[in-house]
């Protein structure tokens, strides 16, 4: 792999090669965070269990954001959930990917005029793959995961980099919708 015979590889090239190798492992072992933000989570158990058996793809549920690679935003996000989602997303270790489920994450879906539900997820956190439908079938859920793997392979799943680069933009959007992300109230001393 490392042919240094005539032209030694530059540091960038070596990094790129390592990154590609890392991508191979990452896309074959996507650990998703168990965070059921909304109703589309009900189609995850069939995807996890015998009917579709997500573990064939190397995917599995993980308990905490530190361990997980993929954040599944399963459906509508109320403001309360969005706060916690952003906090959880920021706790994940990089590289991290986001999959948005259902029409609610794309444009608000059936709750487009609700006072409590945001309309567009990728204003607040970068989303790599959307799975449309209300609710998306298990087949489309699985297809979404395969798409994510392809994106990782083609180095297009760069949402987490985007979150670094345009952090101010995301933060401004979050502030506009939520006020403060980390709230203090009687529940949160």
């Amino acid at each position: 792999m490392l042919s240094t015979k005539f032209s030694p590889m530059s540091k960038e090239e070596v990094d790129r090669k390592w990154w590609e190798i890392g991508d191979f492992f990452r896309r074959n072992s996507l650990w998703m965070l168990m965070y059921c933000t909304g109703c589309c989570a009900i189609e995850l158990p069939p995807a996890m269990t015998s009917a579709y058996d997500m573990e064939r793809l190397g995917m599995g549920p993980m308990a905490t954001p530190r361990q997980a690679d993929v954040l599944l935003v399963t459906g509508y996000l109320s403001l309360k959930t969005l706060r916690r989602l952003i906090y959880t997303y920021e706790q994940m270790s990089e590289p991290k990917y986001v999959v948005g489920f259902g029409s609610c994450t794309i444009n608000g879906g059936i709750y487009h005029d609700s006072h409590a539900v945001i309309n567009q997820l990728n204003k607040y956190v970068p989303v790599d793959v959307f799975v449309a439908g209300c609710m998306p079938n298990t087949e489309s859920v699985m297809n979404g995961f395969i798409d994510l793997m392809d994106l990782i392979k083609n180095k297009k799943a760069n949402g987490w980099k985007d979150y670094h680069e345009r952090n101010d933009w995301y933060k401004a959007n979050q502030k506009a919708a939520l006020g403060e992300v980390k709230i203090h109230d009687e529940f949160h001393e």
């Binding site: 608000g108 487009h112 309309n119």
Partner: protein, 196 residues
């Protein structure tokens, strides 16, 4: 079910004999509604509780904005006699306040909290009815009031999806803005049932 009619009759007799009921409505053989005055609510509920209606099924309110009144609804249920009883009472909208029924039905605690959160009705006697429960950092009038428009709120706070390609009108004659306005007016038409 031969004795179920007598169940509703039993309730009617029970309540109407002792209290002045503004309106009695027998919805079907399992349900009956009383409209009563605000002062009578607690004693009627105590009476019902001692007569076997031990379960508070639901507590909420209706915003009659045209009458400038809130209507508070208590629904209680008796598992042995199988009759749901609605107790409804009207409150003035500006200073809506009714004593909590916490001493009678301990289960009402969170229903009252929620009714306060969504309508702004005060429930003195409930220790923490004023705390926020479902909403977080809410900055507008209580959302279930009729004069609250969620679409307006949503448009103000949450940006909507901007489509890069206009799938509605491809030839570009009608701008996105116009198309959206047309959609909204159509929707408004539907909302009023086609009647202008």
């Amino acid at each position: 079910m031969t004795n179920s009619m007598s169940n509703t009759e039993f309730v009617t007799n029970l309540v109407e004999n002792q209290y002045k009921v503004l309106k009695t409505e027998v919805l079907d053989q399992y349900q009956i509604a009383f409209e009563v005055k605000k002062e009578d609510v607690h004693s009627i509920l105590s009476l019902l509780k001692t007569s076997g209606w031990i379960q508070l099924s639901y507590l909420s309110a209706v915003d009659w904005i045209k009458d400038n009144e809130f209507e508070v609804v208590y629904i209680v249920f008796n598992w042995d006699k199988a009759v749901h009883i609605q107790i409804r009472t009207r409150l003035d909208r500006e200073s809506a306040s009714i004593n909590s029924v916490l001493p009678i039905y301990p289960g009402c605690k969170y229903y009252e909290r929620e009714a306060h959160e969504f309508f702004g009705i005060k429930f003195p006697g409930n220790p923490d009815y004023e705390k926020q429960l479902i909403l977080e950092n809410w900055d507008d009038i209580p959302p279930l009031r009729k004069d609250f428009d969620p679409r307006q709120y949503s448009d103000k706070k949450f940006s909507h999806m901007e489509y890069k390609n206009d799938f509605v009108n491809k030839d570009g004659k009608v701008s996105k803005q116009e198309a959206r306005e047309k959609r909204f007016s159509d929707a408004d038409k539907l909302r009023t049932g086609g009647k202008k």
